[in-house]
C-alpha cells in the first residue's frame, strides 16, 4: 500500500446520504478474481444507461470532473455489503480520499486497508464543502499529519482513529506486524476451548 500523507486536488460532490456499496459497485462486477480494474464500474448504474453508455450529466462522467481526487458525499457512506471492491473501484478511479459526515464501519476499515483516506467531518462542514465543490476547479487540501482540510472558505480539523492514521501514513503491511506477535497467538491457541469446532478437510 502506498503511504498517504497529503492530498491536494479537485472534488466530485455526491450530495446523497446512505450511499450503499451496491451503488458504488453493482454485483455483476464482483465476479473478477483480480484486485484491479474496477474503476470503470464505479457507480455504474447511476453513471450509465441500460446500454452501458455513460450518462454525460452524472458527476464523475463530466469532463470538468476528470482528475478529481476527492469524493465528497453524504452521511453513512459505504453502508451495506462488505465488498472491498467498493473501495477498489473508488481508488482505481483516481480518488485518494472520501469526505463524508460518517462512514459505515466495514467500509471505513476497507478504505484504510487499501489506502483510501476516509475523512469524517461534521455535516455542516461537509455541506459547505459540497457547495464549494460545485466549482470544478476548487481545490481541497487534506493533510493527514496535521489532520486538516482546507478549501476556499473552509478550514477544518478532522479526527481519525490513531491506528488508522499511523497505518495510512506508513503504508506498512499489517499482516507482517501481526506475525511479529506469533508468541502471543500461539499462547492463545493453547488456551482455546477444546469444545470449539475443528473442521477436518
Amino acid at each position: 500500500m502506498k503511504p498517504v500523507e497529503r492530498i491536494v486536488g479537485t472534488m466530485a460532490p455526491l450530495p446523497r446520504a446512505d450511499v450503499d456499496t451496491d451503488q458504488i459497485i453493482p454485483q455483476q462486477f464482483l465476479k473478477r478474481i483480480e484486485r484491479t480494474g474496477y474503476g470503470q464500474f464505479l457507480f455504474h448504474s447511476w453513471a450509465h444507461d441500460h446500454e452501458g453508455t455513460p450518462l454525460p450529466e452524472f458527476i464523475i462522467n463530466r469532463p470538468e470532473r476528470q482528475g478529481a481526487s476527492v469524493l465528497v458525499a453524504g452521511r453513512n457512506f459505504g453502508c451495506g455489503s462488505s465488498r472491498e471492491h467498493a473501495v477498489w473501484a473508488i481508488h482505481d478511479r483516481g480518488f485518494e480520499a472520501v469526505i463524508a459526515p460518517s462512514f459505515a464501519d466495514i467500509f471505513r476499515n476497507n478504505a484504510v486497508n487499501v489506502g483510501l483516506l476516509p475523512v469524517e467531518l461534521p455535516e455542516p462542514i461537509v455541506n459547505e464543502l459540497l457547495t464549494v465543490a460545485e466549482d470544478p476547479t476548487a481545490e481541497v487540501a487534506i493533510d493527514l499529519v496535521g489532520q486538516t482540510v482546507v478549501a476556499p472558505g473552509v478550514d477544518a480539523v478532522f479526527t481519525i482513529d490513531p491506528d488508522a492514521r499511523r497505518r495510512l501514513l506508513s503504508g506498512l503491511d499489517p499482516i507482517a506486524a501481526t506475525l511479529e506477535l506469533e508468541d502471543q497467538i500461539l499462547a492463545h491457541e493453547q488456551t482455546r476451548h477444546d469444545w470449539m469446532p475443528v473442521i477436518s478437510s
Binding site: I33, C79, G80, S82, N110, D173, T178, P197
Partner: protein, 465 residues
C-alpha cells in the same frame, strides 16, 4: 470486579494482547467464492500460508446457479471464481462444501446447521451478513478482503473496540407478525446508521421467545441497522438446537461447553453505551416501500409523503426512492401489485421459513401474473423440506423449487429480477439494483411473500384464510 456485557466477555477472552486496536483470535473463518480470491492471491504473493485451515470452512453460494446444476456453471466469470476457490481450498487444505456436496448452501445457513457456529466464538467472514451467527451468542461480523487475507495468514483480526447497544424487546409478537417484521421494525426506528460503531445485544421477553432460526433472522439484519454485529445470549433454546449437530461438541466436551456457555450472558448490572426499547405487542407485518431497509411501513399503511420527514437528507432520499420504486405517496400498501416473489436468502430461507410460507399457500395457486421461486438456504434445508413434503406444496401452487444459494438476494447468479419488475422478497436489502438493474424490491416475511404470490399484490397475512 467490573460488570461486563456478553460482548465484553467474548471480546476479553479473545484478545491476544493488550493492544489498541485489539487483536482478536478468530475461532471460525467462513469463506465463499466472491470475496476470497484476491486474499488468497495476496497470501501467495507474500509467500504466506493459511495458518489454520482447520478453523476455516468454505462454501460456494453467491454466484452459483440454483437450477440445471448438472450442466455446470455457465457464466464463465462465475465459473472462474468458483474454480479459483476450489484450487485455493485444495492447495491450502480447507474444507469446501462444493456445488455437488449435500451440505452446500449459503455460508450463514450452512455453518449453524452443521453445528460449527457455537456460543462464545469469534466468527468472521468476507460478508456483511456474518452478523447472523450472533444468534448463538457468538461475536460474528463481516470483513473486507484485505482482512480476509489477514485472517487467513494470522487467524486473528485487528479491531477497534465497538460500543454496545441493548435493544430490549418486551411483550410478545402477535399472530402473523414474525421475526422479520420485528427486525424491520427495529431498523425503521433506529435507522440504517443507528447501530453504526456498535454491537447490538437483543434481549427481553420477545427475544427469549424466539426459535434459533428466528434469532438468526434478527441478528442477520443487524448490519442493515448499521451495526456490524448483533448478539443474543445463549439459553436452553440455543443448546437444544446445537445438541447432536455434526460439529457440536459430544460427550464430556459437551458438558464442558455447557458449563462455559452458561456464563455467556450480560451481567445484571452491566451497562450499555445506549439502550433502545420497544414492545413486540405493537408490531404489525412490515413491507419496505423504498430503497433501504429503514424505508418501511406496516401492511396497513400507505406509501409515505416525503414531506413527512423533517430531516432534509431523509426527505431527499425518500423522493429519490419513490421515483426509483415508481410509487405514489398515499397509495395503500395492499394496493401495490407484484410481479415476482423470491423466497430465499440468509435472512429467511431456513426450514421454519419454508414451513411458514407453505402454510399460507397450501392448496392455492400463484397469481397468473406472478413468477415465484423458492431457493432453500442450503441443500440440507432443501432435503428436510422435501422429507416433509413442502416441495410438493410449493410446486403444486406454481412456485419453482430450486437448489441452494444466495440467488435473487443479490442477483449475482442467473436469478436476476428484470428491470421495472416488482419483487416481494424475503431477503435483506432493497437497495437500487440489488436484485437486478431497475428491479424494485419490497422486503417482507416469508408468510407475507407467500400471500403476495397468491394474491398478486400485498395482503395482510393476519387476515389470510
Amino acid at each position: 470486579m467490573r460488570t461486563r456485557t456478553l460482548f465484553d466477555k467474548i471480546w476479553d477472552s479473545h484478545q491476544i494482547a493488550e493492544t489498541d486496536p485489539a487483536l482478536l483470535y478468530v475461532d471460525l473463518h467462513l469463506v465463499h467464492e466472491v470475496t476470497s480470491a484476491q486474499a488468497f492471491s495476496g497470501l501467495e504473493l507474500a509467500n504466506r500460508q493459511v495458518r489454520r485451515p482447520d478453523l476455516t470452512m468454505a462454501t460456494v453460494d453467491h454466484g452459483v446457479p440454483t437450477t440445471g446444476r448438472s450442466l455446470g456453471i455457465r457464466d464463465p466469470l462465475s465459473k472462474r471464481q468458483v474454480d479459483a476457490l476450489r484450487s485455493n481450498c485444495e492447495r491450502h487444505g480447507i474444507q469446501l462444501y462444493d456445488i455437488d456436496d449435500p451440505r452446500q448452501g449459503i455460508v450463514h445457513v450452512v455453518s449453524p446447521e452443521q453445528g460449527m457456529t457455537q456460543p462464545g466464538m469469534v466468527i468472521v467472514c468476507g460478508d456483511s451478513h456474518t452478523s447472523t451467527h450472533g444468534a448463538f451468542g457468538a461475536l460474528a461480523f463481516g470483513i473486507g478482503t484485505s482482512e480476509v487475507e489477514h485472517v487467513l495468514a494470522t487467524q486473528t483480526i485487528s479491531q477497534k473496540k465497538p460500543k454496545t447497544m441493548a435493544v430490549e424487546v418486551g411483550g410478545h409478537l402477535p399472530n402473523g407478525v414474525t421475526a422479520k417484521d420485528l427486525i424491520l421494525g427495529i431498523i425503521s426506528r433506529i435507522g440504517v446508521s443507528g447501530g453504526q460503531g456498535h454491537v447490538i445485544e437483543y434481549r427481553g421477553e420477545a427475544i427469549r421467545d424466539l426459535s434459533m432460526e428466528e434469532r438468526m433472522t434478527i441478528c442477520n439484519m443487524s448490519i442493515e441497522g448499521g451495526a456490524r454485529a448483533g448478539m443474543i445470549a445463549p439459553d436452553e433454546t440455543t443448546f437444544a438446537y446445537l445438541e447432536g449437530r455434526p460439529m457440536a461438541p459430544k460427550g464430556a466436551a459437551w458438558d464442558r461447553a455447557m458449563a462455559d456457555w452458561a456464563e455467556l450472558r450480560s451481567d445484571l448490572e452491566a451497562t450499555f453505551d445506549s439502550i433502545y426499547s420497544l414492545s413486540a405487542n405493537e408490531l404489525e407485518p412490515h413491507v419496505t416501500w423504498g430503497v433501504n431497509p429503514a424505508q418501511t411501513t406496516s401492511i396497513t399503511g400507505t406509501v409515505p409523503e416525503p414531506d413527512a420527514y423533517s430531516d432534509l437528507a431523509q426527505r431527499e432520499a425518500a423522493v429519490r426512492a419513490l421515483a426509483y420504486m415508481a410509487l405514489t405517496p398515499g397509495t395503500p400498501i395492499v394496493d401495490i401489485p407484484i410481479d415476482h416473489v423470491f423466497l430465499g436468502s440468509c435472512t429467511n430461507a431456513r426450514l421454519e421459513d419454508l414451513r411458514a410460507a407453505a402454510v399460507v399457500i397450501a392448496g392455492k395457486k400463484v397469481n397468473h401474473r406472478v413468477s415465484a421461486i423458492v431457493v432453500p438456504g442450503s441443500m440440507q434445508v432443501k432435503q428436510h423440506a422435501e422429507t416433509e413434503g413442502l416441495d410438493k406444496i410449493f410446486t403444486d401452487a406454481g412456485f419453482e423449487w430450486r437448489d441452494a444459494g444466495c440467488s435473487s438476494c443479490l442477483a449475482m447468479n442467473p436469478d436476476v429480477i428484470p428491470a421495472g419488475a416488482r419483487c416481494a422478497s424475503t431477503s435483506n436489502r432493497n437497495y437500487e439494483g440489488r436484485q437486478g438493474r431497475d428491479a424494485r424490491t419490497h422486503l417482507v416475511s416469508p408468510a407475507m411473500a407467500a400471500a403476495a404470490a397468491i394474491a398478486g399484490h400485498f395482503v395482510d397475512v393476519r387476515e389470510w384464510s
